[in-house]
Symmetry: C2
Subunit: 92 residues, 2 copies
């Protein structure tokens, strides 16, 4: 079996991707860089801000998505290294 720590991250990444809204967010970010919170929300069908925040937290906690604060916005991006390792499907 692989490294235990790595398997723990794999579970987190896969759990994050195993929900339709979050997979959609990850796919959006794989195609367009640096989207911010509001921009992501606008591309989804009616998701409350609190719900979006919750989803983005799971994605960033898993390491699959990075966030970067710039002014009063937070920009999100797929972490390519993590994506390539666990779910290159995202980058296809």
């Amino acid at each position: 079996m692989g490294d235990h720590q790595t398997d723990l991250q794999a579970v987190k990444v896969y759990k994050a991707l195993g929900e339709p809204t979050r997979l959609k967010i990850a796919l959006l970010l794989s195609k367009e860089s640096d989207l911010c919170f509001t921009a992501i929300g606008e591309k989804l069908d009616s998701v409350a801000g609190s719900t979006l925040s919750h989803h983005l937290k799971q994605l960033t906690d898993s390491g699959l998505i990075d966030s970067r604060k710039s002014g009063s916005y937070i920009h999100y991006n797929v972490n390519r290294e993590v994506a390539e390792k666990f779910a290159p499907y995202l980058m296809a």
Copy 2:
């Protein structure tokens, strides 16, 4: 965005892998072929048969794991095509 049907399968596969016991089962099967129900159960730490059955169903429903009946046993294997597509990490 990719094909919608494909994204639906992606969610299923990732949801299946986003649970520690099921990831472990998938990793076991990626290293040893044709394990049957009982053999898998023995390699896990105390999981009731009914629970194992439930996990295997999710893995097979996603398409990630194939099952083949032989006599009174059911043998399980990773579907390499699906694994390569969505989670090549399993085969690493």
